[in-house]
């Protein structure tokens, strides 16, 4: 059986069957994982990309790895509907439903379960890249201002410079009345609060 596999792979290269019948209702599933070039270059580097990719059948019942060219195969699989998942750090792969039929071996029946897209051949590509870290925003004056301390200073400044403006717009008579009221109530002014303010 193993001797036949390379031959099958060649067939697969020419876009033909993904399954090969073996003895006693056991089949092989052959496929390929393709990670497009260009993906994964930005962001963080992925050490040993291809060698850390795992292909899992039916929730870990069988696990296999990729050859340098991205091909993989599962041996001795019974007929039925199977689920293939690809685990690769940095990429999001949709699980793939694969039908291995006993009646017409060699027929490809595969579909992505995430978007129900049918596959004519078992070539698995990542749906998207996964970025595990937040991107740190570059320093900006806004972020400093947005921080609690920045807000505190901003509020101080606003009170110091906007409040007098508000006071200016008031009716002078009203203001005088208010000032008198304040004096009569003995509301301490800022200067009297501070040490040395007791002088006056």
């Amino acid at each position: 059986m193993a001797a036949v596999t390379p031959l099958l792979l060649l067939l697969l290269l020419s876009s033909a069957p993904s399954f090969s019948s073996g003895s006693r209702n056991a089949y092989n599933i052959n496929g390929r994982v393709k990670i497009p070039q260009g993906l994964g270059t930005k962001g963080y580097a992925l050490p040993g990309r291809m060698s850390n990719v795992k292909v899992l059948l039916n929730g870990g019942q069988n696990i296999t790895f990729l050859r340098p060219d991205g091909y993989f195969s599962f041996h001795n699989i019974p007929a039925g509907t199977h689920l293939i998942e690809v685990s690769a750090i940095g990429y999001f792969f949709s699980p793939v439903r694969v039908d291995v039929s006993a009646r017409n071996p060699g027929k490809v029946q595969a579909a992505l379960t995430e978007n129900r897209k049918g596959l004519s051949e078992l070539v698995l590509e990542p749906l998207r890249e996964e970025q595990y870290y937040e991107i740190r925003e570059p320093f900006s004056i806004m972020s400093l201002l947005k921080s609690p301390m920045g807000l505190m200073v901003g509020f101080m400044l606003a009170v110091a410079f906007l409040m007098p403006k508000l006071v200016e717009n008031m009716d002078p008579e009203e203001m005088r009345r208010a000032q008198e009221e304040m004096r009569s109530q003995g509301v301490p002014s800022l200067s009297s609060l501070l040490p040395g303010g007791a002088r006056n």
Binding site: M1, L56, R67, T81, Y133, S147, M152, S191
Partner: protein, 985 residues
């Protein structure tokens, strides 16, 4: 008015600035999390030191790991974890550049590139029949520049090319009863000998041409005494075996195709022989070892029939495989154990009397005995041979010895954790000295100045590196005392080797480790198995001076009625306080919520005969227990029969030996699932120590729903018998999954739901009043997750405030589980992309913080998923009120946000379990995920709303305060001047 609107604006601005930060930045990796990589107990090791360049050792382990290690430091170059049913049978290095692994009962052969671990080729081998015997034979045979590797598996002999994995030739051994014992390939010849036993007394020998698989000779000879166990090859055409009684040694030689037997009773060799012996196979020419009870006897074979005992020892002895060091010379190592030391001897195969090397190495006795030894040689500067030995210890650790010293060691026992618990660290006693504070203050200021520089983008690359290393090497986090936030704890883990480790949560270093006496192989207990860890003594309040301790429960042997063993271990010092060998078995352990005056927790151990045994065995504990006698209920699950039973206590044990702490039990109820249609595949309950903050849930329209919170709820999932097999072999019509919620005191089924066309495996988690479970939907061919929330209707009319004021509510009415609870359930299902290995839920001290599900995916990552995504009240178009409440619009699939992987870009290879422990700080929970790797981190499901984050900039705060003060003084002088002017006017 203007001021008020300004304030509102300000507040809005303030809150919008607190943007939700879901995950961490790349430079925060390692601040609160740590990741450790392990391998498991080494089964086989092959050195690769021939060429210049990096020296490596390739190992395969019992955790199904194949890895390449740096021989200098023991670091992992690369590592692959194979599937759990793809057990590695053998490894070898071929062509000097490929690692060959044979796995899955000899049916899969893979080659990995030695430098980087990339798989090069994979071959599937099949044979005519299933057989246990497996051999991977190292050869130096060459066919046109290609090396071949000879594999015997499943009754077929294969020769495989090392270049591309092609099978060059194959030869079947169809003989019905033939049990192949050895495949021998004499070095320097093109012959292969396959020897084995047929029926019980026939010895068979096949001679095969290694180049083309042609059968050259086939001989067989009968031996009336029969054979026992394994054979050991001593010469290329001679093997040693035992007769069926195990008392007579047989030397079988098949030189020139003629089979001849020579018998030698063991009693002739050893005066005081003790019963049947066992052969320890070795590959050393002319030498083999037998073991009788605890005595190891090394025997040398001279010529054909002459056997000579060269060593007889009571010490545990391990013999390495042969290592050919030069033309025709073979060396091997012998390791013997003597209390605190191990003695390593390296000898030449044909010269027993002289040692090439003799070393004694001091060994920590908590590593146990030496289980395996592998040797490798190097040439010293003076052209003589030096040897290094790789040894595997009883606690599964791996050590490299060279020149009488341990060069490196790996604690690979941590790859197989059975159970985890936590313990607090000691309270800090005396304050630190003043000098230290000052030093710290200066460092502290300097650090914050650097941080400020970083924030303002003024830092040079060196500064950035300094900031990063400063953050990682925060001495605070690995301190050996309790901290205010409860982040520093000890993780107590029990490994399969029967060793207990204490890991510090700060940086993961091993605080202490202890090989438990009760879980060591002894005369009474041949196959001890560790089961569980429980908190035995958690001192607080009045027993503050006591050290906390844990209870380790184990049993002898895998059978259900094997006697149990207990150990009590102090978690501060790691000392075993006491250990007990029990007379009864341990089927179930129930930690009771009662403690005695020394804060020892009461535990009830149920044995296989359904008797309950109380620990600790003190009169005080018994009196506490008798008070609560009628309030103790438990349940048991019999997966095989499909029965769940509820139990209660009846009275003191009758008959047998009068034992104060033994109690009889009675069966209260039982639920029998129809065995022809349903099979229990998962049962889950709430965590015992979970805290629920509020029983009521206020929903959008000011309504109140009361959560049905009971500690006695059990979630059970059953599948149709056909659905209990693996995915791919059933159709949706013949498979269904039923989920039950069962009250374990009354046995009442509170809720039941059937998912047609679904099957297991089911992973579930139960918390508060909800359960979330994960299963496979065959119709949609996708994984699904469902949530069931259970609410108490009987208290639903308590929402009228007037009723509460007038006392007309039923809140004080006694709640009894015997009255039929009036509950309603809400449920919803969603699609989930990945297969799942484990599910856990975050837990916090007071249960106020919202929850996150921690999902261990098939890719060995841990995903944090907010519980709000699994809310049965989600609808496609939530109303405004519902949106305000925080209900997310319904989507079929659950979102997988890469930033919410708590393991970020790491994998916890071979993930088995996720444990969450609350920190003292309400917002934070500690997460520990274990498998072959260990991973620990802190999580804040609703962000750290109750403390400042680590990157809080104190320097900026100081500067702000200074600026404010300056502003105050400026305005003061200004106002003073203005007042003066006004006075002058």
């Amino acid at each position: 008015m203007a001021i008020r609107s300004f304030l509102i604006l300000f507040i809005l601005f303030f809150f919008s600035s607190l943007n939700p930060i879901l995950s961490l930045y790349e430079d925060q990796v390692g601040l609160v999390d740590w990741h450790q990589q392990y391998l498991g107990k080494v089964k086989q090791a092959v050195f690769h030191t021939h060429k210049t360049g990096r020296k490596r050792v390739v190992v395969s382990t019992e955790e199904n790991v194949v890895a390449s290690l740096d021989l200098r430091q023991g670091e992992i170059f690369w590592r692959h974890v194979l599937g759990s049913n793809d057990v590695i049978d053998g490894i070898d290095i071929a062509l000097g550049k490929y690692v060959i692994t044979l796995s899955s009962g000899g049916s899969i052969l893979r080659a990995w590139n030695l430098p980087d671990g990339q798989m090069v080729w994979e071959s599937s081998l099949r044979g005519p029949k299933h057989s246990k015997s497996l051999f991977l034979v190292r050869t130096n045979l060459k066919i046109e520049k290609d090396n071949i590797v000879i594999i015997f598996s499943n009754g077929r002999l294969n020769a495989v090319s090392c270049m591309d994995g092609e099978v060059l030739w194959e030869k079947d051994f169809e003989g019905e009863s033939l049990k192949v014992q050895q495949v021998i390939q004499p070095p320097g010849s093109n012959l292969i000998y396959v020897v084995g036993f047929a029926s019980s007394s026939l010895f068979e020998m096949y001679q095969i041409n290694a180049l083309n698989g042609e059968l050259l000779k086939h001989e067989s000879a009968a031996f009336s005494g029969g054979f026992l166990g394994e054979v050991s090859p001593v010469f290329s055409e001679t093997v040693v075996a035992l007769d069926s009684t195990g008392l007579i040694l047989l030397t079988i030689s098949f030189q020139n195709g003629k089979i001849s037997f020579h018998q030698m009773p063991i009693s002739n060799l050893v005066k005081d022989s003790f019963g049947p012996a066992k052969i320890i196979p070795s590959s050393v020419i002319g030498i083999f070892a037998i073991k009788m009870n605890a005595v190891t006897i090394v025997i040398r074979v001279k010529d054909e029939s002459k056997l000579e005992v060269v060593e007889k020892t009571n010490h545990e002895t391990s013999i390495s495989d042969a290592l050919s060091i030069s033309e025709g010379q073979q060396a091997f190592a012998l390791v013997q154990h003597a209390s605190h030391e191990i003695h390593l001897r390296v000898k030449l195969a044909h010269n027993w009397d002289d040692n090439l090397l003799k070393e004694s190495v001091k060994m920590d006795q908590h590593r146990g005995l030496v289980h395996k030894v592998y040797i490798n040689n190097y040439i010293r500067t003076d052209k003589s041979y030096g040897f290094r030995a790789l040894i595997v210890m009883e606690d599964h650790s791996l050590l490299l010895l060279q020149q009488g010293e341990i060069v490196w060691s790996r604690e690979d026992g941590l790859a197989s954790i059975i159970d985890v618990t936590t313990s607090e660290l000691p309270v800090e006693r005396d304050g630190v000295s003043v000098a230290k504070v000052e030093h710290n203050l200066f460092e502290w200021l300097k650090g914050h100045m650097l941080k400020l520089k970083g924030t303002l983008m003024l830092a040079s690359p060196q500064d950035i590196a300094a900031i990063q290393s400063m953050r990682l090497k925060n001495s605070e986090k690995s301190k050996m005392t309790r901290d205010h936030n409860g982040f520093r704890k000890l993780l107590i883990v029990l490994t399969r080797a029967g060793k207990l480790f204490a890991l510090h949560t700060g940086d993961g270093h091993i605080v202490w480790s202890h090989l438990l006496q009760s879980l060591q192989k002894s005369k009474v207990c041949q196959h001890p198995i560790g089961l569980n860890l429980y908190k035995w003594q958690v001192p607080h309040h009045h027993a503050m001076d006591e050290n906390p301790s844990v209870l380790v429960i184990g049993k002898c042997g895998p059978s259900s009625d094997a006697p149990g063993a207990l150990s009590f271990v102090d978690t501060y010092t790691g000392k075993e306080l006491s250990s007990l060998s029990l007379v009864h078995s341990v089927a179930q352990v129930i930690p009771l919520p009662y403690t005695d005056s020394t804060e020892q927790c009461l535990h009830l151990l149920i044995d296989a005969d359904k008797h309950a045994h109380l620990y600790p065995k003190t009169p005080e504990a018994i009196s506490i227990f008798e008070r609560e006698f009628s309030n103790i209920y438990w349940y048991s699950v019999e997966d095989d029969n499909g029965i769940i039973k509820g139990h209660a206590l009846r009275g003191k044990c009758t008959g047998e030996v009068a034992d104060e702490v033994c109690f009889d039990t009675r069966e209260l109820w039982s639920i029998v699932f129809p065995s022809e249609s349903e099979k229990i595949i998962a049962t889950v309950t709430r965590k015992l120590n979970e805290v629920v903050h509020t029983q009521a849930k206020v929903i959008a329209d000011q309504e109140v729903m009361y959560k049905y919170i009971s500690r006695n709820l059990l979630f059970v999932a059953t599948v149709a018998l056909k659905g209990s097999v693996e995915i791919g072999s059933v159709t949706p019509e013949e498979s269904w999954l039923v989920a039950y919620l069962i009250d374990t005191v009354t046995g009442r089924i509170l809720h039941q739901v059937t998912h047609h066309g679904s099957q297991g495996p089911v992973h579930a988690v139960f918390s508060e009043n909800w359960v979330v479970y994960h299963y496979f939907n065959l119709k949609a061919q996708r994984y699904e997750m469902s949530v069931i929330e259970i609410y108490d209707q009987s208290r639903a009319d308590n929402k009228d405030v007037w009723k509460l004021v007038l006392g007309k509510h039923n809140l004080t009415s006694p709640i009894s589980l015997y009255s039929r609870p009036d509950v309603i359930t809400k449920s919803q299902s969603y699609f989930f992309t990945h297969s799942v290995k484990a599910i856990a839920v975050t837990s916090t001290t007071k249960g106020i913080t919202s929850k996150q599900l921690l999902i261990g995916t098939i890719g060995d990552q841990v995903l944090a998923l907010d519980k709000r995504f699994l809310d049965p009240r989600r609808t496609v178009n939530p109303t405004q009120a519902e949106k305000e409440e925080g209900i997310i619009p319904l989507t079929d699939p659950l979102p997988i946000i890469p930033q919410s992987y708590v393991t970020h870009a790491l994998r916890v290879e071979g993930l088995r379990g996720i444990i969450t422990v609350p920190a003292k700080l309400e917002s934070t929970t500690l997460v520990f995920a274990h498998g072959v790797d260990l991973f620990f981190t802190q999580l804040a499901p609703s962000r750290t709303y109750d403390s400042l984050t680590d990157d809080f900039n104190y320097a900026l705060l100081l500067i702000t305060i200074v600026a404010l003060l300056a502003a105050i003084f400026v305005t003061w002088t200004l106002s003073e001047r203005k007042e003066l002017q006004e006075n002058w006017r």
